[in-house]
């Protein structure tokens, strides 16, 4: 479970696209280096990975038993 490692958690399971993406990028803009954002969604957010890569973030994905996907994100170390 990655929730305890995150400074901000976004539950995107009941949100319509692109809301989970919008909220995640806003949260990433707001955090300090060293802090982490966790997104919980119903399916693997492929377009988000590409945005994270382009914007200099690292991430780690875990698939949960209930079928949801947890993506933990943070600023890449310089």
């Amino acid at each position: 479970m990655t929730q305890s490692k995150a400074d901000k958690v976004i539950d995107g399971r009941n949100m319509e696209p692109p809301e989970p993406f919008v909220q995640t990028m806003e949260a990433l803009d707001a955090i300090e280096p060293g802090q982490k954002v966790l997104l919980v969604v119903g399916r693997e957010p492929i377009p988000l990975y590409r945005a994270l890569e382009l914007n200099g973030y690292s991430w780690q994905t875990e698939r949960c038993a209930d079928g949801s996907v947890e993506v933990l994100m943070w600023h890449k170390q310089p």
Binding site: R13, N14, E16, P17, P18, F21, V22, M25, E26, L28, D29, G42, R43, P47, L48, R50, A51, E53, L54, N55, G67
Partner: protein, 438 residues
């Protein structure tokens, strides 16, 4: 928010939009045709006006949006990049638009050269599309029901249009072919092997994503496309070989496969987490109920002699399927896909400087709801026209013009949001580069 959502796999926005914006124009032409041809249109499914009306909707409205959506979906969902998407979109769009106009003219005038022109334009345009899509999909593994569904749908499209071209040429050259049997097989492939398989392939992704429903059952996703293609193929062979009992049983199987998709979609939609249904959900629900009604009418005509003898049943079935089923579900999807694509493109054009507008402001909810009411009114009037053509054909034609005019207006207003925002982005970027220069 300062982020780039990569869309390097997405084709230019004009590629799908030229198809999307043309579809309602054919819907308006369908309404005008009803006003021009009057109650006689509904004398049987074989009247010139009924054939022209059917193809204004299938080739003019449905095919436009379906190919436009595929131009977008192939690269983004399947990772199948079309070579030169803009050039391909321009060519295919021009071919099928002119092809539809020639075909409608051919049905209304019964002029052989027009049938031949329509056959050439559809044949070349769709062959170019299928060839490019097959080349792009070549080597891409079918890792999801959507990818395999897209591949099977292309087979369905090829056979549907191949049979259509054959029928058109046989009318153009007065060839001695079994036209009625071929026409039935043509529409079986069009509605099930092309239309329903493509709808399911896209629905597996967009229904849970935009309507907040559970996913389609895994067994269904894995087997639906192959099952649909198999039963349609077997039914076609039985129909063509004159094996009437097999043909009847397999025909029932084809109808039940389509009904299964509608039933499962209604069931997962019932479990949506959204408190209040939006226009897209209403459109999907009416579409699936209409599809079930069309299946029920077809089954009744096959089992109840009184229904079978009634000349109106194929028209009733057709109105449910075309206006209630496919048109409804397509408009419902346009209301999600169009704002989403505009948002996606503006998000990227903004280049970290200008935020994309809120997706809900790209097409206003009230405008979608009102257009939806106009479409449902047109559907109700068309259903009444089947029973009382003299009374309802003119109100139905007017309602169809209103509903499609409104759809066109809603899509154009989305495009104007796009253009206005694009100019704003250009101004901000120009101002910034001026600052940097000085």
């Amino acid at each position: 928010m300062q982020a780039l959502l990569s869309y390097d796999q997405s084709p230019p926005i004009a590629a799908p939009f030229r198809f999307f914006l043309t579809a309602p124009v054919f819907g308006i032409l369908a309404g005008l045709l009803l006003l021009w041809s009057g109650p006689d249109t509904f004398a049987s499914r074989w009247t010139p006006a009924a054939l022209a009306l059917t193809h204004l909707i299938t080739a003019g409205f449905m095919l436009q949006v379906m190919l436009g959506a595929m131009v977008q979906v192939l690269p983004v969902v399947a990772g199948a990049n079309l070579a030169g998407p803009m050039r391909l979109a321009r060519f295919v769009h021009a071919s099928i638009t002119l092809g539809t106009l020639f075909l409608v003219g051919a049905f209304l005038s019964f002029s052989p050269p027009l049938f031949n022109m329509a056959a050439i334009l559809f044949g070349v345009g769709v062959a170019m599309f299928v060839g490019s899509a097959a080349y792009a999909l070549h080597g891409i593994p079918s890792t999801s029901p959507t990818i395999s569904g897209l591949k099977f749908a292309l087979v369905g499209l090829s056979v549907t249009v191949g049979l259509g071209v054959l029928l058109s040429l046989s009318l153009g050259w007065s060839l001695n072919l079994p036209l009625i049997e071929l026409a039935d097989i043509h529409l079986g492939w069009g509605f099930v092997a092309w239309g329903t398989i493509l709808l399911a392939a896209v629905g597996f992704v967009v229904v849970p994503m935009f309507q907040l429903t559970p996913a389609y059952p895994e067994w269904f996703g894995r087997h639906f496309s192959v099952m649909a293609l198999a039963v349609v193929s077997m039914w076609s062979l039985a129909e063509f070989s004159g094996l009437s009992l097999f043909s009847l049983l397999l025909g029932v199987a084809v109808v039940l496969v389509a009904a299964l998709f509608a039933g499962i979609t209604l069931n997962i939609q019932r479990q949506s987490k959204r408190a209040r249904f939006d226009a897209t959900q209403h459109y999907w629900r009416v579409a699936m109920l209409s599809a079930l009604a069309a299946c029920a009418v077809w089954l009744a005509a096959r089992s109840i002699p009184m229904v079978a003898e009634w000349q109106g049943w194929p028209l009733l079935c057709g109105v449910f399927l075309l206006f209630g089923g496919f048109m409804s579900v397509i408009i419902g999807m346009l209301y999600k896909i169009v704002p989403f694509l505009i948002w996606l493109h503006l998000q990227n054009l903004g280049n970290r400087l200008v935020m994309a507008p809120n997706m809900k402001k790209i097409i206003i909810e009230r405008d979608m709801d009102r257009q939806m009411l106009a479409h449902f009114s047109a559907l109700a009037l068309l259903l009444l026209t089947v029973f009382w053509p003299a009374w309802f054909v003119y109100p139905a034609g007017l309602a169809l013009i209103l509903a499609n005019g409104w759809l066109l207006r809603n899509l154009l207003s989305a495009m104007s949001v796009y253009r206005a925002h694009q100019q704003k982005i250009a101004a901000v970027i120009a101002a910034q580069s001026n600052q940097t220069d000085s």
